[in-house]
């Protein structure tokens, strides 16, 4: 899903082995479900297809995941963590707004160009997709030397507090920041429902940020001179904030930063973050065998899992494995089994052709449609396949009809595609309008889907099959249409009656509806010159529309 920018040089440095396109693309890249989307010299754009692995959305994350492919590294990467005496007080005022915060300190980091680029990338990718556009997780990174602990996370009234937002020069109220700052405008909707906004503030009352919107100019700027960092992740679910924090912290540690914890004080409970305790899951041996379709020895399994950064803890009735704290995609043993298969290599699996005793068949209505479709070319008609998406102009206005209740798209990409058709004749008319320069006679038909509103239906609509046919010719008339209707219906042995129909798309007195078993099956006739004029067509047209679904029910 996300596209990640990495440089091969940077990746090589992080892995400690020379990595080139040749030794990266064919295999190691598959471990992270990546696909190269663009190459510019040493820089690659990698499409990371896995949308539940935010830990892979940075060069550091990719380097960590592919490291066992190039080196002897196995199992979960261990990080040295020291406790700091920094407190982060969480005031109850944030409870209903954005209740959770997890934080960490990184010391002695050398900020390079590559690092700054990656920090921006991690923040953006992790908070956009995993963080649901900052709603579930927003990351703040600060120059810790400019902050005075203890830190407080607390909500303030929109006009009660002022600070200079990042990139600005003047102090503004919280309310004004949401109105005037570009990031304020972008993310204001996440806060404006509340009467107070969350703030990260230090002991000297210097504002660090207003999560999830914007950092302050005074502490929220990281430059090449920055030595020590304070990192916090806010959100509405504790797990998400911890996963996002661990992803950022591990990336910085991979670049030589020293990790120190922060004590987050929620009042009745205290939490030390970041917490790298590995997560644990049990996988049955039988399940591995059933899903992979292969037998593995315990040693093989251990080896395959360790290459994917798991650690096998117990192996009695089932396999009990641990995996890194930053992974949140493992919900079920099948997720571990897929990693075993990726570690083994998909193309090393021998495909087995299972012979299943099943009989194939077309759906009866589709088969019936196909019979009708085969019948019409005999009259000289060309089959068409038109879009079911269209617009009210074509469906009603140009057809000289009053607007009817029909399916309407809420977010159309163009005003040409705003509705689903409720009849096929308008599609044929639109087609004929596009072909007025072609030779006449023009005879066309389509058997396809239409959708009508039905309040009693589960989806408030019925998808039905219709046939529409049209002939544009100087000799097109009612008789021609009636001949075809008669041929189709008598051929199907349907007893039907013809009644006069008043339909403003047709010439009065030259339009009929078809009735069978007291149900209306369709209508046909000569198209009104007003409609022809609306479609810029200068030849007479006779047309018919037949409800194939109704006909099918009748036939049964």
């Amino acid at each position: 899903m996300p596209t990640i920018d990495i440089s091969l040089k940077d990746l090589s440095k992080l892995v400690g082995k020379e990595i080139t396109l040749e030794n990266f693309e064919p295999e190691a890249l598959l471990w992270i479900k990546g696909e190269i989307d663009g190459i510019d010299g040493d820089n690659l754009k990698i499409d990371c297809k896995e949308s539940n692995r935010p830990d892979l959305w940075s060069t550091e994350g990719i380097a960590r995941a592919v490291s066992p492919f190039y080196t002897k590294e196995r199992g979960i990467r261990k990080y040295k963590v020291e406790d700091s005496d920094v407190y982060l007080h969480v005031d109850r005022s944030v409870d209903k707004i954005r209740p959770y915060i997890s934080a960490a300190i990184i010391e002695d980091i050398t900020i390079t160009d590559d690092l700054i680029k990656q920090l921006i990338q991690i923040q953006e990718k992790v908070t956009t997709t995993f963080g649901r556009k900052r709603k579930a997780a927003a990351i703040g990174i600060y120059d810790f030397d400019k902050m005075t602990p203890p830190i407080t996370y607390k909500a303030f009234k929109p006009t009660e507090l002022k600070f200079i937002p990042l990139g600005f020069t003047k102090e503004m109220t919280l309310k004004d920041i949401l109105i005037h700052h570009p990031k304020g405008q972008e993310f204001a909707h996440l806060l404006t429902d509340f009467d107070k906004y969350p703030i990260v503030i230090d002991n000297k009352d210097i504002v660090a940020s207003m999560p999830p919107v914007i950092n302050s100019e005074s502490t929220g700027k990281v430059t090449e001179k920055t030595k020590n960092l304070f990192i916090e992740v806010t959100g509405i679910n504790l797990d998400d904030t911890q996963v996002a924090l661990n992803i950022v912290v591990c990336a910085l540690a991979d670049r030589g930063g020293k990790i120190k914890t922060v004590l987050v004080d929620y009042g009745e409970k205290h939490l030390r973050t970041p917490d790298f305790t590995p997560k644990r899951i049990k996988v049955k041996f039988t399940e591995i065998e059933k899903i992979t379709g292969m037998k593995f020895s315990l040693k093989e399994l251990k080896d395959l899992l360790e290459k994917q950064q798991y650690e096998v803890k117990k192996a009695k009735d089932c396999l009990e494995v641990e995996y890194p704290s930053y992974r949140q995609d493992i919900m079920h043993p099948v997720d571990v089994i897929e990693d075993i298969l990726i570690s083994y290599g998909y193309n090393k699996v021998t495909p087995i052709l299972a012979n299943l005793a099943t009989t194939g068949e077309l759906s009866p209505i589709e088969e019936f449609c196909e019979e009708i479709r085969e019948l019409i070319p005999g009259f000289g008609a060309q089959e068409l396949l038109n879009f079911t998406l269209t617009n009210k102009e074509i469906l009603f206005k140009k057809m000289n009809l009053k607007e009817e209740n029909c399916v309407e798209i809420a977010n159309p990409v163009s005003n040409k595609w705003t509705n689903l058709r409720n009849a096929i004749i308008p599609s044929l008319m639109d087609f004929l309008e596009h072909n007025t320069s072609q030779e006449y006679p023009q005879q066309v038909y389509e058997v396809g889907d239409i959708v009508i509103i039905n309040d009693r239906a589960e989806t408030k609509t019925d998808t039905r099959k219709h046939l529409a046919w049209a002939l544009a010719d100087k000799e097109a008339n009612f008789t021609k249409a009636k001949q075809i209707i008669t041929y189709i219906l008598t051929g199907l042995n349907i007893d039907f009656q013809i009644e006069e129909e008043s339909n403003d798309s047709f010439i009065t007195g030259r339009c009929a509806r078809i009735i069978a078993n007291k149900k209306v099956l369709g209508y046909f006739g000569e198209i009104h010159p007003k409609v022809l004029q609306n479609f810029s067509i200068e030849f007479p047209i006779c047309a018919l529309e037949l409800d194939i679904t109704e006909l099918f029910i009748l036939k049964k």
Partner: protein, 494 residues
């Protein structure tokens, strides 16, 4: 010679007696009393048979327009003005010339320096001389009509001058056609043409056997005939049909579902969390009308709710959020065929079984040569206790060979929200080279076990559009739903 005579069409026969060298088209039409189009057609056919040559000349004729004709009788306005000024100076209102002609008359006389224009209009010496002299324009008007190339230099000057004035001069191009007979033609005009040939064979001729002693006129069998188009199937539909029949042969039952779906079947049954980015407005269409559908029975809905919230009884952790039935009720045009599979599985599936569908899906893309807003996806599900990753690969390889004509296949790890493990299949096609054929996987237990299906269900989807484009020889994907009648009439399968 007789050979040629017997191929002559009745129109040619009718015209032949009037033909002579250098005869004009007009004259020929008058003599033969045939219609212009008949004469033309007969001449063209005879030209094809090398009987004659049609020579086309064009002449430019200068003639009098509406005003020109009037002035031929009445004198030009400038002449009338000059004559009125002969004795007296006049102020404008005293001049007896219609307003629309007066300005031109004054302009023309000023150009010829025949008048002075002050408060009054006064004749000059030059003007007085001109009283007795004919203007060049007057001379020209008298001699018309005339051919442009015959004009003298003086006349040309007058012509250019008059051309600028309204409706005096009419310039027409006249095309004249003259016929020259070839040697063959000359001989043919001397030939006897009263051969009694049968033109059209009619029921009467058959009944009265009058054909027995007569010859049939020979047709020019090489002549081009007007094109005719017979009715036929849409090429992409034909392609889809072929694939459908292939799948039926492979033991698949066709499944179907509605075009408008609830999010429940499009996403929730398939274990897509309700806040997943793929469910947002940029990735899928939503409806303004109607907006909300109904959910199936509580048992299914509750099990899906639990699968999302805590994994239910599937051994999964679930997504850990509060599932909202109102979101699941929202209606949308189906975004993928997996919604059809979801519906099938909720209805219940046999073991073993294979189902497929080739069905329409909608996505808010911009319509261009590589993107459709409405397209077909092909999808299948297979269930059996023996389904595993190895049998999944076996079946995919088999399809790649059967359906896409692949020579070799490769598998890649991939991610789909509904399957684990997931795999992407690439196939080496004899003409296209390596192409990404589609994706597959085993449905997550959060989906199947929630719906009470205990056997593994594999799902696969192939992108058939690219294959269709190759088979139909098209580069622009919009041609699958072509609005181009010419292309449809002429399209052939590769």
């Amino acid at each position: 010679m007789q050979e040629i005579v017997s191929t002559l069409h009745p129109l040619e026969r009718k015209l032949l007696p009037f033909l002579k060298n250098n005869i004009g088209f007009q004259e020929l039409q008058e003599l033969s009393k045939m219609q212009e189009v008949e004469v033309m057609r007969a001449l063209q056919w005879m030209e094809n048979k090398n009987i004659l040559k049609i020579k086309t000349d064009s002449k430019i004729i200068i003639n009098l327009g509406e005003f020109g004709k009037k002035y031929q009788k009445e004198k030009l306005p400038e002449r009338r003005l000059l004559e009125q000024l002969k004795e007296n100076k006049l102020i404008l209102s005293e001049i007896n010339i219609p307003k629309e002609e007066l300005n031109i008359a004054i302009g023309e006389l000023k150009k010829k320096a025949a008048i002075n224009l002050g408060k009054e209009v006064e004749i000059t010496e030059q003007g007085k001389k001109l009283l007795t002299k004919e203007f060049l324009e007057e001379k020209l008007i008298k001699t018309l009509p005339k051919e442009l190339k015959d004009l003298t230099d003086e006349e040309k000057l007058a012509y250019e001058n008059l051309k600028k004035r309204k409706d005096i001069i009419l310039t027409e191009e006249i095309k004249t056609r003259t016929i020259t007979l070839t040697e063959l033609g000359k001989k043919l005009t001397k030939e006897k043409l009263d051969l009694d040939l049968i033109e059209t064979l009619t029921p009467k001729i058959i009944q009265d056997k009058s054909w027995e002693n007569k010859q049939f006129r020979k047709y020019d069998i090489k002549t081009t005939v007007p094109r005719t188009y017979c009715g036929k199937r849409q090429p992409y539909m034909q392609f889809l049909n072929k694939i459908k029949f292939k799948l039926v042969q492979l033991g698949f039952k066709e499944m179907s579902g509605p075009l408008i779906e609830t999010e429940f079947f499009n996403f929730d049954v398939l274990f897509q969390p309700q806040d997943h980015p793929a469910r947002t407005w940029t990735d899928t269409y939503h409806l303004k009308n109607p907006t909300l559908g109904k959910l199936p029975d509580d048992l299914v809905v509750n099990r899906v709710k639990h699968a999302h919230e805590n994994g239910g009884r599937t051994g999964s952790t679930g997504w850990g959020y509060k599932w909202n039935p109102e979101i699941a009720k929202q209606l949308m045009p189906r975004a993928h065929t997996t919604a059809v599979s979801a519906r099938r599985m909720v209805k219940g599936i046999e073991v073993p079984s294979k189902y497929f569908c080739i069905a329409k899906c909608y996505r808010p893309d911009v319509l261009d040569a590589t993107h459709l807003i409405e397209f077909n996806q092909m999808e299948g599900i297979v269930t059996d206790p023996s389904i595993s990753f190895a049998t999944l690969l076996g079946m995919l390889k088999h399809f790649a060979i059967e359906i896409a004509g692949a020579e070799e296949v490769k598998f890649f790890p991939d991610y789909y929200p509904f399957t684990e493990p997931s795999v992407q299949i690439s196939a080496k096609h004899p003409q296209l080279g390596w192409i990404e054929l589609g994706g597959a996987g085993i449905f997550r237990p959060e989906i199947t076990q929630t719906l009470g299906i205990d056997t593994p269900v594999m799902a696969w989807g192939f992108g058939i559009d690219r294959l269709a484009m190759f088979k139909l020889g098209i580069k622009d994907i919009r041609y699958l739903f072509s609005q181009d009648l010419k292309w449809l009439r002429e399209a052939r399968m590769n």
